[in-house]
């Protein structure tokens, strides 16, 4: 017991348990049985990643060094959760309506979808979070070494700190990649990860409470005596350094909102705004429980442990020194939980930013063709996220390696807090102040970031590590007013207060002044109104003025980003909402906005906007849009919303009417053509029959072989005539619904083989690729009729595919109890204006490509309707593509 090997085994078991929890949660979420996953309790527990390894171990150390000051770190978030939950609600609402994926996405989106800001905030977040990840690695390594020093049997085992950190980093990378990048969810929620974090939250709370109870009642001799000990030690002194307290409270409150990992759980993973109500009291309660025993442990630790013991490790070393190894292991697991959960979420959040705002834009620019190249890019997005996760953890490890883990835990945490807090002015200004603009945000962030880096981040490596020693003594180039910890000669301030004061106030001042002095561009104005008035503006932002975009191009693009199935569903729903059948909705501003937002879940708002603009050809904001933003007294707004709703309805009705009218006109033209066609189709064979029968009648002395030949022609043409009449009758019966179906169960694969074989075209000028037929699915339907449809589609591909090497791809999938079969060829496809007509009787794409009577697809359509399925033309697939869907089991109509 207590050996390092046991510890490693315990860790491994615990991690395996986390994998299992995450896996089960993911599975439950997929099956839609995850209501309990979305409870406010899980949400609250997931917020506890605020309490990292720093809180778990470091708070005691903090208390041992500075007394009650450690509480500031908890007071900040408590104030935010309890006093400001309406502000959080606003953030969450904005995050949801704008499909925000990260804090960088939010800032960039607010300031006119600026890619520059996205990159900037991402860099700040990486710079601010890297030390924090290093901190977690350090806390795990320290706790390992505490064990190896204290444990009697493991004492001889010296551990390699760097190797341990490397292993931990690698393991966490694997976990995060597995559960953080399983799929590209449009809304970026990770049920598995959240659930695992919730479990870890419970574990660390239980561990800390257990140690606390042991210390108070086991070592301290009860509450009264423990309190006496606290009083006796220095740490009980109520030493409030006002400036430092205020700075730390403000800092932790700011960090609570802007830390990438907090933003991830607070806003991105939020399922329901109302969860904030619960979290508003439950999360402070959690924090209170976490801090309950910090002082007793610190006081007793200082009392009991030797002078040189590291107070950061009291939580672990106290039980160990008393021989309570079980408790120590529990405490170790608690610390391990705190560290791992933070690293997982932080690297996930950072990876999303890095991938969306840096890697993907570069990749999309480098991959020639921009938004329009075909092929799925989801794997690229996933790959880039995975690499980003590995990269972020690698950076954290590198920081750990370079800094040597020499700095006290708490001070690294403050460095990180102050770094990400630089985003706060831009974030708050963006959410509450319409006048805030992009230039102001960029300027403020730059100034704040530079001051932070100079006065806090670089010095954190220790004097002489990056900044030369002389800078700390006399200031750079001997300019004492530029001393990193005493800017403008203001000395005597605590370094943290000094840095926070200068960086945040300079940041805010520059942000406000530049925003006031410069003008936002139209897109910023629009987004600004959307964000600041998120509760009034429930409608869509009017970012797109409707142009003549090619819906089909949009479809090609969307399929790459969202995946074919999701894109097709999205387009179909949008088309249905517009009252259009098929897959191609009109590119109305509403639809483009919807599409852009869906895609921003995968690639970020700035990139999604750029991709849609590439197809739309422009990204302008119309005068009306600007007016809509300008006129915004409450009355006007309401009036406008009503008008908009009416106008949208009128537009929809008009579109439907226009559609119906168009169709009627086309039908009338077709009706006319129908008589003419039917006349042509019947008269052509009759012409041969009549001519040759007259020849036979009048032709004495014709040689016998010629007689036989002519008789044969008459016979053939009579058969052709009969077939035509059969088709017509078939169609008429199908159309009138008098057909009786012969429903049987059969294998779809063998049905398809028979159909292909009976056309006899495979290999003779047409290659056929089959996908999804390996699995032998059984369907219950009218097999003969279904076969008739397949034969028709294969024969059509043979007749009409105009590629030099015709290839037909038959792709079969089972989906929601339906069979979906796509027949896609590599020819030039059906032109957009003919895609609806081809299913009408005698409709041919053109006169030139004659071949049949033009009844085949009309019959197919009727058959599929009788079988309870459908046949549709699938645009944007590269060639002609027909989709046949039918239920796996046909519902027999009561007859």
């Amino acid at each position: 017991m207590g050996s390092l090997n046991t510890l490693v085994a315990v860790c491994a078991t615990y991690v395996a348990l986390l994998f299992l929890v995450a896996f089960l949660a993911e599975r439950a979420a997929i099956r839609g049985r995850a209501r309990w996953l979305r409870s406010p309790l899980v949400y609250t527990l997931s917020l506890s990643i605020y309490c990292t390894g720093w809180t778990f171990y470091g708070a005691v150390g903090f208390a041992a060094r500075s007394g009650l000051e450690f509480l500031t770190i908890y007071i900040g978030p408590t104030l935010v959760m309890m006093g400001w939950w309406w502000g959080l609600r606003k953030l969450v609402r904005i995050g949801r309506t704008q499909r925000i994926t990260s804090v960088a996405d939010l800032v960039s989106s607010r300031y006119g979808k600026s890619p520059l800001l996205a990159v900037f905030v991402t860099l700040i977040a990486v710079a601010g979070t890297t030390p924090y990840i290093a901190l977690q690695l350090q806390s795990v390594v320290l706790s390992f070494s505490s064990f190896s020093c204290e444990a009697p049997s493991g004492g001889t085992l010296a551990i390699d700190r760097n190797a341990t950190a490397l292993w931990v980093a690698a393991g966490l990378a694997v976990f995060t990649i597995l559960f953080g990048t399983r799929n590209l969810d449009a809304n970026e929620r990770h049920h598995g990860v959240v659930m695992a974090i919730a479990v870890e939250a419970v574990v660390k709370l239980v561990a800390l409470l257990a140690v606390g109870i042991f210390v108070v009642w086991g070592l301290g001799g009860g509450i009264g005596q423990t309190l006496a000990r606290i009083d006796a030690s220095d740490i009980g002194q109520w030493q409030v350094a006002n400036g430092r307290w205020a700075a730390l409270i403000m800092l932790s409150a700011a960090a609570f909102l802007t830390l990438p990992r907090m933003f991830q759980v607070l806003v991105v993973e939020n399922e329901d705004e109302s969860h904030l109500r619960t979290a508003a009291w439950a999360f402070p309660t959690y924090l209170m429980l976490m801090s309950l025993f910090v002082l007793p442990i610190a006081a007793v630790g200082l009392d009991v442990m030797p002078q040189d013991a590291n107070p950061d490790q009291f939580v672990l070393t106290l039980p160990l020194s008393q021989g309570r190894e079980g408790l120590a292991v529990l405490s170790f697991i608690g610390g391990f939980s705190s560290a791992t959960s933070m690293v997982i979420v932080a690297s996930l959040a950072l990876a999303t930013m890095v991938s969306n705002h840096i890697v993907m834009p570069i990749w999309l620019r480098l991959a020639a063709g921009g938004a329009m190249i075909s092929g799925d890019v989801r794997h690229v997005v996933l790959l880039s996220r995975r690499l980003s996760i590995a990269g972020v953890l690698g950076l954290g490890y590198l920081y750990f390696y370079i800094s040597g883990g020499g700095v006290a835990l708490a001070s690294i945490g403050l460095v990180s807090f102050a770094g990400v807090a630089q985003v706060l002015p831009a974030l708050m200004g963006g959410v509450f102040w319409r006048g805030a603009n992009r230039l102001g945000a960029v300027a403020g962030l730059s100034v704040g970031f530079v001051i932070w880096a100079y006065t806090m981040f670089l010095p954190s490596f220790g004097p002489g590590a990056i900044l030369p020693l002389s800078v700390f003594e006399q200031g750079p180039w001997g300019l004492s007013w530029l001393h990193p910890q005493a800017l403008f000669g203001i000395t005597g301030l605590d370094p943290v207060v000094h840095s926070v004061l200068w960086s945040i106030s300079a940041n805010t001042a520059v942000f406000v002044v530049v925003s006031l002095l410069t003008f936002p561009n139209p897109m910023e104005r629009l987004q600004g109104a959307q964000f600041v008035n998120v509760f009034q503006h429930t409608g869509n932002p009017q970012g797109w003025s409707g142009g003549i975009a090619q819906s089909e191009d949009l479809m090609v693009m969307a399929q790459r980003i969202l995946g074919p199935r999701e894109a097709q569903m999205l387009f179909r729903r949008a088309a249905a909402a517009q009252g259009i059948s098929g897959y191609l909705p009109d590119p109305t501003p509403e639809f483009l906005q919807l599409l852009e937002r869906e895609m921003s879940g995968s690639v970020g708002a700035a990139t999604a906007h750029a991709m849609v603009s590439q197809i739309m050809g422009r990204a302008t904001v119309s005068v009306e849009d600007l007016l809509a933003v300008a006129d915004e007294t409450a009355q006007m707004m309401e009036h406008q919303i009503q008008l908009e709703a009416k106008s949208a309805e009128l537009t929809r009705t008009a579109r439907q009417l226009r559609g119906a009218n168009e169709k009627l006109t086309q039908l009338s033209v077709q009706k006319d053509a129908f008589l003419s066609q039917i006349s042509h189709e019947l008269r052509t064979p009759m012409t041969s029959i009549r001519a040759f029968s007259e020849i036979l009648r009048d032709g004495d002395g014709l040689p016998p072989e010629q007689l036989r030949k002519y008789a044969n022609i008459i016979h053939q043409e009579a058969i052709r005539l009969t077939r035509l009449l059969d088709d017509l009758l078939d169609l008429s019966v199908l159309e009138n619904g008098q057909v009786s179906l012969n429903v049987q169960v059969g294998s779809i694969a063998s049905l398809m083989e028979h159909a292909v074989a009976s056309t006899g075209v495979e290999g003779k000028g047409l290659r056929i690729h089959r996908h999804g037929l390996e699995r032998d699915l059984m369907v219950e339907t009218d097999l003969d009729r279904l076969s008739q449809v397949f034969i028709n589609l294969v024969a059509n591909a043979h007749k009409y595919c105009d590629a030099p090497e015709p290839l037909l791809t038959i792709r079969l999938v089972e989906r929601d109890n339906h069979l979906v079969v796509d027949f896609t060829d590599n020819g030039s496809g059906v032109p957009r204006d003919k895609q609806e007509l081809i299913f009408e009787k005698f409709a041919r794409v053109s006169d030139q490509k004659a071949g049949g009577a033009g009844l085949g697809l009309a019959i197919c359509r009727e058959i599929m309707a009788r079988l309870g399925g459908a046949i549709t033309y699938l645009p944007g697939q590269g060639g002609a593509s027909f989709r046949v869907t039918l239920p796996m089991r046909m519902r027999q109509a009561a007859e």
């Binding site: 008589l675 003419s676 006349s679 042509h680 189709e681 008269r683 052509t684 009759m686 012409t687 041969s688 029959i689 009549r690 001519a691 040759f692 007259e694 020849i695 009048d698 022609i713 053939q716 043409e717 006169d847 030139q848 004659a850």
Partner: protein, 122 residues
């Protein structure tokens, strides 16, 4: 020596029937079965008489007729139009474009011969 007749028609059986009837009657028969280059073929073969179908692959009989009438050498060429579309408007269109004669399929062999004889004697 018989006169030259060119048949432009895409149904092989109908070509065979008309060719047989006409050659038995002493005509020199040439055939062509698509619309794309029909005008070029007429120009090079210079037939005494043209039998022209309406529904042809590549170019419709009406278009071919329009082009022939616009050209110096073929403006007066006797053209018998055959069509399987028997509506009045088709007949009117053919007449307006300058068809010499218009017949609906199916036809009687004797009537075709008679119509051709009339066309060349004029």
């Amino acid at each position: 020596m018989g006169k030259n007749v060119l048949i432009i028609e895409d149904e092989p059986n109908i070509i065979e029937a008309i060719s047989f009837i006409l050659s038995r009657d002493g005509w020199d028969v040439a055939t062509h079965s698509n619309g794309h280059d029909a005008v070029d073929v007429v120009r090079s073969k210079q037939p005494d008489l043209l039998i022209l179908d309406v529904m042809l692959p590549g170019k419709s009989g009406y278009d071919i007729l329009t082009e022939l009438r616009a050209e110096q050498g073929t403006a007066d060429l006797p053209v018998l139009m055959l069509t399987a579309r028997g509506q009045n408007k088709d007949r009117e269109l053919a007449t307006r474009l300058g068809a010499s004669r218009f017949m609906t399929k199916p036809f009687s062999n004797a009537e075709v011969l008679e119509a051709l004889r009339e066309l060349v004697s004029n």
